[in-house]
Symmetry: C2
Subunit: 372 residues, 2 copies
């Protein structure tokens, strides 16, 4: 904040609110924020009155740092907006004529929130601080890594449940139900949180539509199915993707899977501190080029803590032009895939950058699976 | 749009995108929109390239109405933003100097999206059209009601699963896993979608923190537990809340539950076309006042179609000052509750306004439940 000459930072991204203050709860459907100022010792939580007890239960903040607006601010017919209340809090914090950072492109910081805040604080100067906290999150502490490893245990269980359930004649939703049961039931005696992204299972013709969710359709002989899911522990994720095939996979599908595994492993092998993100992507691209395949999508992104709609941190990505230098304890989800007109294959790993390589968090065979 | 003198409407709320164009998918973690113009016959879908196939699969739009931006716009290190592409689409639609409605306070329409769009279209005039589509959604068609009734069947199954699982010594996450299994497994041979809000189960001391989710804590003798959940079918919801108690409930808890049921039923009894939202709330408040209880939170809100983080429509609410007049086929979730220092009781129903009353969608006993 000092480098950016900010007097205050209004944090709206629920993951950043959790990171800074510990705040946890499904309350991000109303406006809320954690405000950090350079002239106060601790941040301030601002939210709806019925969520103040949640702030008391989950944050480390003192009672005088918890500020709640009344319920008539919520979807209000009275021309009241939560940003009216937040404006007053910023005045009380003595920054109404200061430089105030806001997360301009963060989920849940709406256009209206911004224009209303500007109107309420005409003397303030607003600066775009969208990824200021996110960039701090990229390197994980030991505690964070512990949660991600626990999430990886859950991901393994959920992937087993998916592979065990899928077969010809089973409706897609039954596989989704088995995955959810495993995700929430957890592993090794601890439970799982809801993941920031629902399990995705594009299948059959739809492996080329990566963000469709399950339907009542029954799996059929000849279906390729991509399963992407993540266990979640204390809001930390460890996503995992694998591909399965109902019946005997055609040669083209098996060969594509082999290329994806080879490319994924080549990319993982290049990971170590000092290497750039684009160099890692290059290792993948070199492999697929040997098979005359060209593809320029990003293959990995920084991630960890997250709330719907995303577990990604929106900072470093492994793709051409991203010169972020890897450092120990950065964490990424690497998810390369190859899609053709009639099928696609994806396989992914979540990993931590170690002192000299990559620690892959989940232990799960890297192969094309088959179902009856 | 004509009444508001709009040449174009940029719809960012995923529920509104679905309502207007049928678009479905977990892709709202990147910027996307459906654009309606007064000078073209059909809307236009704008999204990420890898989601264009999803638009082809789920919308009724012609190929020339599907416009996708390249992946380098996503969390871009290249100073590219999806709103650069959307600006070009609006130019092509011949509205660059028009009156353009934007959903200023909709989820996922960020401050950055707005300022970037303003910058890209300096000749346009932007108007706040936040709830324009939402107000259309409040009255449901027969098809929509069919989906909501199916969602109600799922809600019943999930509530049974919750009540069957909860007992002293069982971890909260096991109840959540049982609920999820039922929510996705569906009812009567059809599957369930992921709900827009996760199951909420504040328990014990935490019944006063309504938006905390489950933990590893084990239910204990003496715990009150509020269960709020919703089945989801084709993105339509029918939420249901009940309260259970582990062990024999103290007199105060049972009496509170009786008051909540009495108030809920009094409010439901006043529902019919022509009555205002605030009159319905008044019926609830009259009941609790007889027991010397005062509470001014809203007790119901319009709802139906939804994506995370909310199934509410953000239009009419049943609370003092809301003079919305009820009409046939409007749907609401009525969720009154009473919270005290050490426990809370909530009970809810989702209902449709009929020609002369209310059709409650779920059939579930209205009582305080008990668990061993």
């Amino acid at each position: 904040m000092r480098e950016e000459d900010l007097d205050a930072l209004v944090v709206s991204d629920p993951a950043n609110m959790n990171y800074l203050a510990g705040y946890e709860g499904w309350s991000f459907y109303v406006h809320q924020a954690v405000v950090v100022t350079t002239n106060h010792d601790e941040p301030v939580w601002v939210g709806r009155d019925q969520d103040a007890n949640g702030a008391r239960a989950t944050t480390w903040l003192d009672e005088e740092s918890i500020h709640a607006y009344s319920d008539d601010h919520v979807h209000s017919p009275y021309d009241l907006h939560p940003m009216d209340y937040l404006g007053e809090v910023l005045e009380d914090l003595d920054v109404k004529d200061g430089h105030i950072g806001v997360e301009m492109d963060a989920y849940y910081f709406t256009a209206k929130a911004y224009t209303r805040l500007q109107k309420n604080l005409p003397e303030a100067t607003f600066e775009d601080a969208t990824l200021l906290v996110n960039w701090l999150r990229i390197k994980k502490s030991e505690r964070e890594l512990e949660y991600m490893r626990e999430a990886a245990r859950i991901s393994e269980e959920a992937m087993v449940a998916a592979l065990d359930t899928i077969e010809a004649g089973v409706p897609e939703y039954e596989a989704a139900a088995a995955i959810y049961d495993a995700l929430i039931h957890g592993a090794d005696g601890f439970g799982g949180d809801y993941p920031a992204i629902v399990p995705l299972m594009p299948s059959g013709d739809h492996t080329g539509t990566p963000h469709l969710t399950w339907t009542d359709r029954k799996f059929e002989e000849g279906d390729p199915i991509i399963i992407e899911l993540s266990g979640c522990r204390h809001r930390y994720h460890s996503p995992l993707a694998r591909t399965t095939f109902v019946g005997d996979p055609p040669k083209a599908v098996q060969e594509t899977a082999d290329i994806v595994v080879e490319g994924l492993e080549a990319a993982l092998d290049t990971v170590e501190p000092g290497v750039t993100c684009e160099e890692v992507e290059k290792a993948w691209r070199n492999v697929i080029q040997q098979y005359d395949i060209e593809k320029e999508d990003r293959i990995a992104y920084a991630m960890g803590l997250g709330y719907p709609p995303d577990w990604g941190e929106h900072t470093a990505s492994m793709r051409p032009g991203d010169e972020t230098i890897l450092e120990e304890n950065m964490t990424f989800h690497m998810i390369p895939g190859l899609w053709f007109d009639d099928f696609g294959v994806e396989m992914s790993e979540t990993f931590r950058v170690t002192t000299n390589g990559a620690e892959v968090l989940a232990e799960f065979p890297r192969e094309l699976f088959t179902a009856r």
